[in-house]
Point group: C2
Chain length 345, copies 2
Amino acid sequence: MAVTSQQIAELAGVSRGTVDRALHNRGRVNPEVAARVLKIAEELGYRPNSIGRALVRTKQSFRLGVILQSAETPTMQDVAAGARQAAEELRAQGLEVELREVQGRDSCKVLRQIDELLDWGAGGLAIASNNTADLVRRIDQLHEQGVPVVTFNTDAPDSRRLCFVGMDNYRAGRTAAGLIRQMLPGGGLVLPIAGHVNNGAHISRLRGFLDGLEGERDIRLLPYQPCFDRDDYAHEITQHTLQENPSLACVYIASNGQRGVCRAIEDERKKGRVRVIAYDLNEPNRQLLRSGDLSFVLDQMACEQGRRPLQILYHFLVDRTAPEKELFYTDILIRTRYNSGADET
Amino acid sequence: MAVTSQQIAELAGVSRGTVDRALHNRGRVNPEVAARVLKIAEELGYRPNSIGRALVRTKQSFRLGVILQSAETPTMQDVAAGARQAAEELRAQGLEVELREVQGRDSCKVLRQIDELLDWGAGGLAIASNNTADLVRRIDQLHEQGVPVVTFNTDAPDSRRLCFVGMDNYRAGRTAAGLIRQMLPGGGLVLPIAGHVNNGAHISRLRGFLDGLEGERDIRLLPYQPCFDRDDYAHEITQHTLQENPSLACVYIASNGQRGVCRAIEDERKKGRVRVIAYDLNEPNRQLLRSGDLSFVLDQMACEQGRRPLQILYHFLVDRTAPEKELFYTDILIRTRYNSGADET
DNA sequence: TTGAAAGCGCTACCAA
DNA sequence: TTGGTAGCGCTTTCAA
């Protein structure tokens, strides 16, 4: 049995209350007594039992809110699954969690959800945010009110959010560039595609990608094209490029639209000769890995992006321990058909 | 505030004790009363508070033992770090954890540690095992005695261990083969190196690798060579192969010895022209990724291999929940210099 | 079959 | 500055 505060109290000849105050410098304790208590605790290697501590805290009740954007996408549904999982765990600790889904990216809708969740009594929020002025201002307000906000998946770096959990998109872009260098040792023609011109995540991925290929003389980069996350546009871009450049070796798509790319390659009878690198390991992409349409998928651990923010808020509010850093970058996972659960041979 | 058993008791007009017995069918309760209680619990969405439950259990004290083999290797030190981390968390729940390190692979030493940990009072063990007859027999004995064993990193599949946490080596081999196919679309000469002929892990990796390259006409495989986990042997093998086959395109090394491989390639002035795929993301390999000596490292999440078995034992002994499967395969992570923390640009 | 009560380790409050 | 005590939600024991 581990040592308890009761045992320390007996050895020190004081009460548990005194021990508690001494150990956590809550004041109102004779310095000599405190020293004695501290010494005994040290010697016995006392560690407060986290369960006893947690039980006391169940007196205060906490409510946490989660707001997703682009909830219609497979990736955000994976994020949602992670959040639900964390919510279930926190429920067993007496917390309540409410999850709100917003279709598309829309700061107005997010603002509305923030209001609703506050009315409901949320004491902390996890938000898939935008870095728009209105949201930044609102998050700052929440900070003033003492309602901590953790952003996830997409950040609001200009705001006073507690921290961010998500992908380091620039580094992901560099990682993709590294894969291309491995795949095309003799060089080749590469087509980069992004989503929206004003989507910060896609732009960072693209920048990392371009920086990562700098100085590679033999790799020729076509000018990048925006496909607005749409398969039909991506299809057209790819098809057109293939017709103009039959030697195309690789397509790098930093956004959605990968199905369009793959279809175009098939339509042009180039499957197997043009490699495709895409993002996010969701069910559709698993299929495309299995069929060999995609060579690599860079994954951002969507599930953890849903789970982690809630855990951070829990620790912040309940344990009163602040997160140890501002940016929690999720691991960049390189997936092929063999390490993605796509292929169960 | 979440709903408590007290509230259910009041609504049902019975005591908490009765509610508890009804909810967990501990018997000795009037069926009608039980039905009423169950119904109310259902309606209110009652979930037992896991903290309250855990606190009760701190009465019983548990001791867990961990036994590492090959503790002198960087990878096993990563495993040890994971185990220590889990131990720290479990300590805060009132458990005690003792970690024993064995140098090299040696069933006799492991058996001795098992005895010592049992004397100390261990109620569950996590063991980096071998599948040797003596260890298998001992683990079966432990099972009979009611001391659960979780194997990790290396399994003892023939034993009655509770479950195993570690890498699916066959699949890792296939994953490596997949990378080679991506890197050598035009084919090329490949040298596979393994460690010991009787190391099951290395053999599985090799089998997966060979199976994964089957049917690839343009990829020529040299006969595989054992290097006994030694850099000097690996160096010699690689150097000799390079001299005989200057066109060598890739070395796949399923064991330790990667430093020898890289040095030989440098000695033969082939750096950058011969790709190397190795295993385990530890500090030495991070260096080799950074310097470009290694193209890919397949990682097995050593840290989690140390942490997970302790959590499984905790749940099994304390919560009395058996693990949901027998084989917990850790994710196969593909690492390059860009997604391994090797390169902090 | 049921209820009442003790107690797990900790914190918080009130009285001394 | 201290000690005593109540109570968090749950399980378990003992008595009715």
